[in-house]
Symmetry: C2
Subunit: 135 residues, 2 copies
Amino acid sequence: MPGTSHDFTARLRAAGLRPTRQRVALARLLFEGGSRHVTAESLHVEVKSAQMPVSLATVYNALNQFRDAGLLREVVVAPGRSYFDTNTGHHHHFFVEPDGALHDFPSDKVTIAGLPAPPKGTRLSRVDVIVRVRR
Amino acid sequence: MPGTSHDFTARLRAAGLRPTRQRVALARLLFEGGSRHVTAESLHVEVKSAQMPVSLATVYNALNQFRDAGLLREVVVAPGRSYFDTNTGHHHHFFVEPDGALHDFPSDKVTIAGLPAPPKGTRLSRVDVIVRVRR
DNA sequence: AAGGAGTTTAGAACAGTTCTAAATACTGCA
DNA sequence: TGCAGTATTTAGAACTGTTCTAAACTCCTT
Ligand SMILES: [Mn+2]
Ligand SMILES: [Mn+2]
Ligand SMILES: [Zn+2]
Ligand SMILES: [Zn+2]
């Protein structure tokens, strides 16, 4: 089952991060199920209610490090709060207001045609599509 | 010149807002040039360096009220800070990192095909396309 | 002109995030 | 296995953007 390796110690080491107890616990929560969207606060609650309490500062550190290492992607859809996304492949999002829930949808069935060229002196970095929906 | 009316007093009144000195000053800065993207902080600096100092709380109040009245649209592209957009029509954005600059592009030349249906129990509210570019 | 509701303001409060620096844990090497 | 050295964790302080509070002020109606 390649790509779904549950050897978090190895995976963290491969990302250049020491496999500390805290990082392994967070990686387990983040990566051992399917694709997830968490906030620092929600992950902190989750890791506390499991057997392994981790400080909020460490949750923030880990999320930022995982993102910098390419293990997570940061998603900004609402003011004041960042989401971290375990799905690092190309995809887009439904954002359900006012719940704050995010749902993925694959980008390969979506066609975006007619985008203008990037402004002078810039290179394209990423195209985000956010489909905002309401209950 | 309809739609470009510079009678801000009337325009505010039409939006259900009393045309106070502060709101008129802010409306002038926001709406009398072309399309703009401001933050509360940038607009506060601007209004202070003009003849009319307005408190930061009032800038926030006005931006939120103008948005609620449909005079502005709020754009969330970066963590920790909201942009307010005087262009309330359908359009999308280039976001230049790390500058934080926003540039409009019209949505009518862009075709987005193949979007999945909104999740059960939700209605489409808006589709935002953010083209992130780097220098 | 007066009354009353709406608005502004300074400063406090708040929420999310980052920083500090002291304690602790991991790793490589003896 | 033990040690030294570096990385990491942590509690709490600090910081940033935003909202709230409540007292002073202003706009509007009469
Ligand atoms: Mn960050
Ligand atoms: Mn707001
Ligand atoms: Zn996602
Ligand atoms: Zn715009």
